[in-house]
């Protein structure tokens, strides 16, 4: 092998390897601003040596592969945190929307409760005044409307969240389909020993997007990946995507179904989990509290009303101020209404005389009595408002924490997988010098060959 042809082949291997390395560097520079791109490194290995007698000769260099620089654990952490952020974002947005219904304004339930008891207090100063009696009925109507409106708003929000769940399931299905296709392309390239770095980058970006929607576990195999939810429901296995479905239920919301199994309650991360938590836990919780308050308040007022006497001195037995709430109180806020239309039927008197205000005072005293959860109406309502505020504050803090962690992790990923233009410039010079040197060797060998040819012809 120690001839000029072999030396020429060795020099050529250097030219080819350096050319490949220069192409890799050029590709890195071109993608320096491409989101999700992982820088690539040429892997150069020495060619198999040739043993000739007592001597061993090298045969140059081989560009074995071009590999992308990635940190699997870091990417896994980014995906996990993206799931948390997706969940917290969705939950926070929903809770903030819920909170709007409880902000202090003239139409909110808290103000309506105060106005209602104030109107009773005014009536007790002049029990036979018809305009004051009408004022109590109006305030009672406003209170019922405030409950109805808030309950209706919460139900509408719940319906919108349910629609969002359906849309998110559809987005998840699109992403899993794309990831399955990429798995196929990556597998095809890897099988023939090609670099699939670009497709792997695209797949990583899609998995990041998927992580923001649903909790994803990535199981890596030699040439492909399997994606499942954290409870083990398959989303992608190799080139096959498993579709999720949003299946309407009798409760007028959609369950998330995979292969016929209801996995709604098992989702723990991503936007889907946040939407479901708001739809199935947070809002129903607030509605149940409102029902307790509406039911307790209506029952307490009706109890006092039915034991008093109206303006005509008649005992008001069976004449309720509010329509009796449903048994168990479920739906009481949504269905709360004023049953009384005639102001003279309002039982203000406790003894039948038109000037008596004993029953009005008893009705006013409800303001300081326990009507729901062993609390006064105002305290119970304050508790509801505080609970929502607390949930918003917790979700905000969780969201902030996720943002901070993701920022840190993305910075780390950038330092590992991102393109450093300075480093690439240095690589460029290094490969260029090596290419020039190899070319010089080729020229020298060529000259030497010419010399040899000339020697034989002379």
């Amino acid at each position: 092998m120690s001839n000029l042809n072999a030396t020429m082949a060795t020099a050529l291997s250097g030219l080819l390897a350096d050319q490949g390395a220069l192409e890799t560097t050029t590709n890195n520079v071109a993608n320096s601003s491409t989101p999700g791109y992982s820088r690539e490194c040429p892997v150069l290995v020495p060619g198999d040596p040739v043993v000739e007698g007592p001597l061993t000769f090298g045969t140059g260099v081989v560009l074995q592969q071009v590999e992308s620089v990635r940190d699997g654990i870091l990417e896994s952490r980014i995906q996990q945190e993206t799931q948390q952020q997706g969940k917290q974002d969705a939950l926070l947005a929903a809770l903030q929307q819920t909170q709007v219904n409880f902000s202090s304004s003239s139409g909110d339930i808290g103000s309506a409760i105060s106005s209602f008891f104030n109107s009773i207090n005014q009536l007790s100063t002049n029990p036979s005044d018809l305009s004051l009696r009408q004022g109590v009925l109006t305030a009672a109507g406003n209170l019922a409307t405030a409950f109805n409106q808030t309950a209706a708003n919460l139900e509408t929000q719940r319906t919108n969240l349910d629609l969002n769940v359906t849309q998110t399931v559809s987005q998840i299905n699109q992403l899993t389909q794309q990831i399955a296709q990429l798995n196929g392309q990556i597998s095809d390239l890897t099988n023939v020993g090609q670099n699939a770095g670009t497709f792997i980058d695209q797949r990583t970006q899609l998995i990041d997007q998927l992580s923001s929607l649903v909790d994803v576990s990535v199981i890596q195999s030699d040439k492909s990946i399997t994606l499942t939810t954290s409870n083990g429901t398959a989303l992608v296995a190799g080139e096959q995507a498993f579709q999720l479905a949003a299946q309407p239920t009798a409760a007028s919301v959609s369950d998330v179904v995979a292969n016929g199994q209801d996995i709604t309650a098992q989702l723990t991360g991503g936007k889907l989990a946040g939407l479901i938590q708001a739809r199935d836990q947070e809002i129903p919780g607030v509605l149940a509290n409102l029902d307790s308050l509406a039911s307790g308040l209506a029952d307490a007022v009706n109890q006092v009303q039915t034991t008093g006497y109206d303006l005509n001195g008649n005992l008001a037995t069976g004449v309720n101020l509010f329509a009796p709430p449903p048994a168990g109180g479920v739906g009481a806020a949504a269905s709360m209404s004023v049953a009384l239309t005639d102001p003279t039927k309002l039982a203000v008197s406790s003894d039948g005389s038109p000037g008596s205000n004993g029953n009005a005072e008893a009705m006013y005293a409800i303001n300081n009595q326990a009507v729901a959860g062993n609390q006064t109406p105002t305290d119970y309502y304050s508790g509801i408002v505080f609970g929502i505020g607390n949930s918003v504050a917790n979700a905000t803090a969780e969201d902030n924490a996720s943002t901070l962690v993701l920022q840190q992790l993305n910075d780390q990923r950038g330092s590992i997988s991102g393109v450093s233009l300075n480093e690439e410039a240095a690589n460029l010079v290094q490969y260029q010098e090596a290419y020039n040197a190899a070319a010089k060797v080729v020229t020298t060998i060529s000259d030497m060959m010419q010399t040899v040819i000339n020697m034989k012809t002379t």
């Binding site: 952490r77 945190e81 948390q84 504050a393 917790n394 905000t396 803090a397 969780e398 902030n400 924490a401 996720s402 901070l404 962690v405 840190q408």
Partner: protein, 146 residues
Amino acid sequence: MNHPRDVASPPPPLTGIAPLALLRQLAASLEGGQRPILALDVEQMQRHSTEQMRLCAALHTLASSSAQASSGSCSKAAAGKEPPQLARELEQAGQRVLHFGRVQAALLRRTRRFLGVLQNLEVSAGVTYGPPLNAPRPHGAGGGGH
């Protein structure tokens, strides 16, 4: 953005510092403590924790002395009559402490989870399914018929 004061510098004397200042210091320390948690810088985390404990103790002392003072009949009139501006600022500072406290708790939960994952990785790497190849075989083990 608020930059936390250098925790390495000697702590200021607590005497005469109003609760508002203490709350602001505590909020700044909690905010400044976020980066060390993210970077797993244990030394800085410890410094921030020490400072936060010191500030909490100072606040506790202030609250106790304030409660004692307000229990006296002559101080009752003065108690709870802070200027509205000061009350607002106290409320805001308290909210900031609450918020950064919640964020810190969320960050610590994440860090703990990550360390748990690392610990599991470490443990699973050391698991073996059988005794080491050069381990002595117990007497009577195996069915060699000896």
